[in-house]
């Protein structure tokens, strides 16, 4: 326990007037109030110090006691004990217990006993919610994985379930700002921003992509190999498949959020590729085909 110089905290001289104390306190309170410095622990600590200094110096009785014992303040503890033994008031005790002593230093408690002298700040407030945005790629959210986030200087290890959606918000309870006057902590809301750098487009749990289909396979049918999100799949193409045909690969889409082993579908659109730089022979054969068509 160390001696705290309340005059120094408020930046005033030992013979400051009541008005000077009030003015100094208000100026510092405006600067260090937790509501105007959300989530800043250092500022919160400073604000508590300022409050404590004001509690002592703005009260003439407390100030006189502080001034008297300030230099040799350890004597104040014994003095206070003796005084309390003489005048024990159970109602007052209940009052002390109902409020948090965390707001005051050991030095203050030793000199003034518990929460004595403090103003009635009984209203508790829930801490502010923190909002963070986390950008992930489509590949990242294809599988459940862990990630470390830094929020307000704290590292938070998160398990991100596969299939989390773009814009989805996950609430992590009690990871927001601390409550005021012992109120509960706020929550941390993490909004996911999912970006796709692959050829797949995601809509809910389904994936969409397109593949090139050569003219001959489109006309005559056949088998092609296509890329799925996590591998390859063989596809049978029906003869005379028109351009823009969409086929569905069941269960080859995106994982369904919090439904392990369940997937959406993959939709593939065929883009017909017309052969170019035809040889003379090819040209001749196509002309023959054209004639057959016009008959």
């Amino acid at each position: 326990m160390t001696f705290i110089d309340y005059y120094k905290i408020l930046g005033i001289s030992k013979n400051a007037t009541k008005d000077e104390i009030k003015k100094a306190y208000r100026k510092l309170a405006r600067k260090f109030h937790p509501d105007v410095n959300p989530g800043d622990k250092e500022v919160e600590k400073k604000f508590k110090e300022i409050n404590e200094a004001n509690e002592v110096l703005s009260n003439p009785e407390n100030r006189a006691k502080y001034d008297e014992f300030g230099k040799d303040w350890k004597h104040a503890e014994a003095y206070e004990k003796a005084k309390q033994q003489q005048r024990y008031d159970p109602r007052q005790r209940t009052h002390y217990e109902s409020s948090s002593d965390e707001d005051f230093s050991d030095f203050f408690s030793s000199m003034f006993g518990g929460g004595q002298g403090r103003r009635g700040r009984s209203m508790q407030f829930r801490g502010q919610d923190f909002n963070a945005e986390l950008e992930l790629s489509l590949e990242d959210v294809y599988q459940t994985h862990k990630r470390t986030l830094t929020v307000n200087g704290k590292n938070i290890r998160l398990t991100i379930p596969a299939g989390v959606k773009n814009g989805q918000v996950i609430k992590i309870k009690k990871h927001g700002a601390e409550g005021i006057n012992g109120g509960p902590r706020g929550d941390l809301n993490i909004k996911f921003s999912i970006v796709s750098t692959t050829k797949f487009r995601r809509d809910e749990n389904n994936l969409y992509t397109s593949v090139d289909l050569d003219l001959y396979t489109a006309l005559l049918g056949g088998e092609i190999t296509v890329d799925t999100f996590d591998g390859k799949a063989k596809l049978k193409v029906k003869p005379e498949t028109p351009n823009g045909t969409q086929v569905k690969l069941k269960g080859k889409g995106f994982p369904i959020y919090k439904k392990e082993g369940h997937y959406g579908d993959l939709y593939i659109t065929y883009n017909l590729k017309i052969p170019s730089r035809l040889s003379a022979k090819e040209k001749q054969l196509f002309e023959e085909l054209a004639k057959l068509r016009s008959l």
């Binding site: 109030h33 407030f125 963070a132 830094t150």
Partner: protein, 104 residues
């Protein structure tokens, strides 16, 4: 909007020992949004946290409501910047993690 989510202003005046005009002034300045329901003014319960913050700044720092509005706007801007910074930090971390794993 559900009825049970709305708190009559009268109840809040009693709770916070404030005059009705104080809530109306907060509404006029745009610090809070009041909803008229069954002829009476109400506050949505989600705004309660905001009201408490306004009251603390007003009472403990002796800032008038116009000043509170300025403070709230600056805090909102600060929060936006904080979120942007977080987003960039987390994005950077992603690249750093990839680099550590030799993915880039």
């Amino acid at each position: 909007m559900k009825e049970q989510d709305l708190i009559p202003i009268g109840t809040l005046c009693e709770q916070y020992r404030l005059k009705l005009s104080f809530f109306e002034e907060m509404g006029e300045i745009g610090l809070i949004e009041l909803t008229v329901y069954k002829g009476g003014k109400h506050l949505h319960q989600d705004s309660l946290h905001q009201v408490e913050k306004i009251l603390r700044i007003h009472r403990e720092l002796r800032v008038n409501l116009e000043g509170v509005d300025v403070v709230m706007n600056i805090l909102q801007r600060q929060e936006q910047l904080r979120q942007e910074l977080l987003r960039v930090q987390n994005r950077l971390r992603r690249y750093e993690d990839d680099e550590k794993l030799g993915l880039s």
